[in-house]
Symmetry: C2
Subunit: 509 residues, 2 copies
């Protein structure tokens, strides 16, 4: 069970089929050859190059890059050559990237031209800019390829740094076996097959694009690289390439919905595309709009970097087909049923614990954090949730750190957000707890209004009180032009809370 | 990675959904409760019963049964309770069953009422007839269930005896991990999902029904038990239950085609059913007829009991959709592309070798045979084959033992059969080598004519000579009323050859 299984099958069965279609609009010269046969050749050239550099088995190779064919190639080449790939978020600041490179001990750093400057000061043995430099100075097309390294299935294949919504990022060690099992179950539960066309709407640095690059290759699926997430561009690519499958956070699908509103003609991919949504709990209105306005099937999954990531999957059941759209969407807004081989339980504290072949090996060089996270063999997700006795579906009630405690009551900020988001004048919303002398914390909603909408603070509060217990309604609303998110679409609540809590005892995490 | 993963997910997510629909027409009282919740309860009652008998972890429990809900339950209950299940071919003779029971060392034997007499003389600690006796004397519904045993993933889960087309049957030890990976890859490559309805057209004793009982449960798929293979009955069940997925040898689909010819009204399941075919190489005309006359998708897989069984899969590619039916069928008549994680190579001798997580652990109590079969880490299939350089698809040119050597030329009996079968007057055909003083061996065709057809020996020989090299054409033809097959649809060529070779040096295997 190693990553080689995926590429070897692609080369054997799909050598002449379209493989990876690189992004045309990027600062490096796009990779032009695109069959799976060619992918194999290029991966071998990377391996030979890393060999020639003198890097050894187990060495870490960091890649700081937007989505690109080269990043995808390296997700194969580095682990298949016996090394460890460290994909790094390209939006991080210089000192954050430096931290990841230093903490992982990477001896080679490969960077996209766009982050050339920001990574210029990094101290490492080797640094290359992806594109002309790696083609001429690193990759070796001229040597007789050696066989792939044959690492143990429990060897670390990649180290993926957590996105750091809370503390310093930690390096999540995923093994070949983690990635293999995640790929198989993700493929099974999304019914992937060789007639799919996959568009990389998800950053590949994020948990190796949820493992999709591997399983898509193993099934011989054409993969279209998308460098920048843009709603209209996604619609154009779906049309151009006959895309059938995409992954992304709710924010991605919001952008597509916005673009669809101004799209002329029929929405491409209607009744053909299925999207896989995770990274943050999607509001049920978003789900309904995706199904109704785009005609795309909405599949929710839930997981974390530490779980490769697939833990649960929620796909409409046959008996849901005739439900009214809203009810259907509400069912789909749950995290879902554990994937095959995943065990979940909810601790007394309400925290969701997981046990599975996809649970990571440990945090790189952090034995204490590892022991805490993997207490008694169960991985502690840090998220609060409930399992429905009737059908075993998990609902994430809150990222643990996002529970608001007001007057002794626990309020799920997600529940409040979901209610507010159902208001037609609301485009985006984040709900946070802010200090309150009487209640300890009180609830504040930060809202981006829909284009042209004029809804007021009082209207929002009344709207909430009509729909949920009074203590769950926000006591104040602020309207904003935008709500900042991480590259993977997560709202960084600690940043939103920061100004309100400045100088207080209670941390903002 | 244990069998419990499949049933646990079924119970968690599909407790109230249809699970296993037992065969109504059987000598034992059919199991009436059919949800996956009820399946879990019954499996626990089997476990408690086996505990109460005093059988221990690792003990073998043999089951000699036609397809039935009880047999399916035992495929879960025996391994999940830490024991080893030995499903036995119910068509074997008394002394053959006795051999399997004795060789496996089974301390418990469970038998279908129909084989009550034939198994009466078996010496074992415990023998029960499935049905009333097991419900009242063995299963324990009244005790507090204990958790499933937690065997290592490399522990033996089942021992499946090879069907004995050649020598004495050998016990193939399949581990939990073998079965787990086979289930996942089979589900992935057949695109199984919870909206499927599965009909058990394949005997479950045969390699645990290719692992389908497990993966269908894990996906919450309704499973309909079929006790006896009958073409018209299969069509009726497809209609009644909305079946979408079935497995079986080519002979099964021939029977369905025959029944379809006399079927009134539209063929049920058109454009909905997909069938998975293995056990013997299907003639391409059979494939074409399935696709054209039934409108069912034809998926070929290839494998052996020793490989759990999935090694390769062949499903029409998108670009094949517009090919003429005959060409399409010819492509589909190949064994296919290795499943994810399977490595194949063809030895110099022409034998196909396989390496994979689905390769068995060994033959029970036969270290020498195990060492021979698993020489240098590769499993020796005993089948001859070729891998197409263009697309990596394997073609089985012949079961090794079925090659005919005539005048120094190797002739694939399958190739000759395929040619003869394409003649419209031929319903069934088996090609064998018979002794010949001049050529060593010469080729004989045994043919069952299609209903009402009158084709002659000379016509068949001419037909072959027009289509293939002269030395490949049969030199004689015999017309028969039927050709005997094993329960799994395999032609037992050694039996067909026997009379011709009686008293000769060369063996008939």
């Amino acid at each position: 069970m190693t990553i080689a299984d995926f590429l070897d099958r692609a080369e054997l069965g799909f050598a002449d089929s379209p493989g990876v279609i690189d992004e045309p609009d990027q600062p490096a010269p796009p990779v032009t050859a695109s069959t799976y046969g060619r992918l194999g050749e290029r991966v071998r050239a990377w391996q030979a190059g890393l060999d020639a550099l003198g890097t050894r088995e187990g060495d870490r190779v960091a890649v700081v890059s937007h989505n690109s064919a080269r990043l995808l190639e390296l997700l194969f080449a580095v682990p298949m050559s016996g090394r460890v790939c460290v994909p790094v978020n390209f939006r991080l600041k210089a000192e954050e990237i430096e931290y990841v490179v230093r903490q992982s001990g990477a001896s080679v750093v490969l960077v996209d031209p766009e982050v050339r400057e920001v990574t210029a000061g990094i101290e490492t043995d080797h640094r290359f800019v992806l594109g002309e430099q790696t083609e001429t100075e690193l990759m070796r097309f001229d040597v007789e390829p050696r066989p792939w390294s044959n690492p143990d299935e429990d060897a670390t294949a990649t180290i993926n740094y957590t996105s750091g919504t809370t503390a310093r990022p930690k390096g999540v060690q995923l093994t070949h076996r983690n990635i293999w099992v995640n790929g198989l179950t993700l493929g099974l539960h999304t019914r992937a097959w060789e007639r799919d066309v996959y568009l990389h709407t998800l950053p590949m640095f994020h948990c190796n694009g949820w493992g999709m690059p591997f399983v898509m290759a193993g099934l011989g699926v054409k993969q279209v690289v998308l460098r920048k997430v843009d709603g209209a561009e996604i619609l154009r690519r779906v049309d151009e390439h006959g895309v059938t499958l995409m992954c992304g956070a709710p924010a991605v699908w919001s952008m597509v919905l916005d673009a669809a509103a101004g799209w002329e003609g029929e929405i491409p991919g209607r009744d053909r595309v299925r999207i896989v949504c995770a990274g943050a709990p999607p509001p049920s209105r978003l789900i309904q709009r995706v199904e109704e306005e785009l005609g795309w099937e909405f599949i929710q999954i839930y997981g974390l970097t530490e779980t490769s990531p697939l833990l649960t999957v929620n796909r409409a059941r046959p008996q849901d087909a005739d439900l009214p759209g809203e009810q259907r969407a509400r069912r789909l807004s749950r995290a879902g049923l554990p994937a095959l081989g995943v065990r979940l339980r909810v601790a007394e504290s309400g925290e969701v614990l997981a046990r599975s072949n996809v649970v990571f090996d440990g945090y790189w060089d952090k034995p204490e954090e590892t022991a805490n996270a993997l207490d008694d063999g169960w991985f502690h997700t840090g998220d609060g949730g409930d399992v429905d006795d009737a059908d075993g579906h998990l609902t994430i009630s809150d990222r643990k750190k996002d529970v608001i405690i007001t007057g002794g009551e626990n309020v799920s900020s997600i529940e409040v957000e979901d209610t507010i988001f159902s208001h037609p004048s609301v485009a985006e919303v984040a709900v946070i707890g802010v200090p309150d002398d009487r209640w300890g914390e009180t609830i504040k909603a930060l809202i981006v209004r829909a284009e042209g909408a004029t809804v007021s603070e009082a209207e929002i509060i009344t709207y909430c009180k009509e729909r949920m217990a009074g203590y769950k309604a926000p006591t104040s609303v602020e309207f904003r032009d935008m709500i900042p998110r991480t590259a993977t679409g997560k709202i960084q609540k600690f940043k939103l809370r920061e100004p309100y809590w400045a100088g207080r005892d209670r941390g903002v995490n």
